[in-house]
């Protein structure tokens, strides 16, 4: 059973966006060291 089906291209695009967002979040949150 699959809850979502986005295919392989969809999977790669989604993860590229998610990784870029998370990387950016780590950059932009300026709590300190």
């Amino acid at each position: 059973m699959q809850y979502f089906y986005i295919g392989k291209p969809g999977w790669f695009v989604l993860h590229a966006v998610a990784v870029a967002f998370t990387f950016w979040l780590g950059h932009v949150v300026g709590f300190g060291p």
Binding site: M1, Q2, Y3, F4, V19, T22, F23, W24, L25, G26, H27, V28, V29, G30, F31, G32, P33
Partner: protein, 157 residues
């Protein structure tokens, strides 16, 4: 799942996320920096959008995914805040100060899981479970998301 059980869980979800929304401006007012708007945005999404998506079976899986990811991002950013400034000292003591609030977020995740499982229990019966949204999937993302976040913080100056 009985209707009463579902509405109790939905109210629990609203109470937990609304509690988080109300707690942040007291602890970290926006005067501490624009970054403090992030928990307000995340908690607003949790209170409004996740709750609305959990109302229907068709959208409950998106709600579960969104709710779980918000919990992971919440624990990640709070751990970062704890290490940097938690308990006024940062470091391990600061990180330890974030443990109680992380447990509240974990409870929020589990309430979402109970709602999701309630919707999908029948569909799952007799079907080989997908690895997607299973405990292993969540654990992997609970490790990978903070790792990417830490890389972004350390390597993108």
């Amino acid at each position: 799942m009985a209707r009463g059980q579902r509405s109790a869980l939905l109210w629990a979800l609203v109470a937990l996320s609304l509690g988080g929304w109300l707690m942040h401006p007291r602890l970290h007012p926006l005067s501490m920096g624009l970054v403090m708007v992030i928990p307000l945005i995340a908690a607003s999404v949790d209170v409004v959008l996740v709750t609305l998506l959990f109302l229907r079976r068709e959208t409950a899986r998106i709600a579960y995914l969104l709710n779980g990811l918000l919990v992971i991002y919440g624990i990640t950013t709070m751990a970062h805040f704890g290490l940097a400034k938690g308990a006024g000292v940062g470091g391990l003591a600061g990180l330890a100060a974030m443990v109680p609030v992380s447990f509240i977020l974990f409870a929020d995740f589990l309430v979402g899981k109970a709602l999701f499982d309630g919707y999908w229990a029948q569909e799952r019966a007799g079907v080989k479970p997908s690895s997607f949204l299973a405990p292993g999937w969540w654990l992997a993302h609970f490790i990978l998301i903070p790792t990417v976040y830490a890389f972004g913080h350390v390597f993108w100056k």
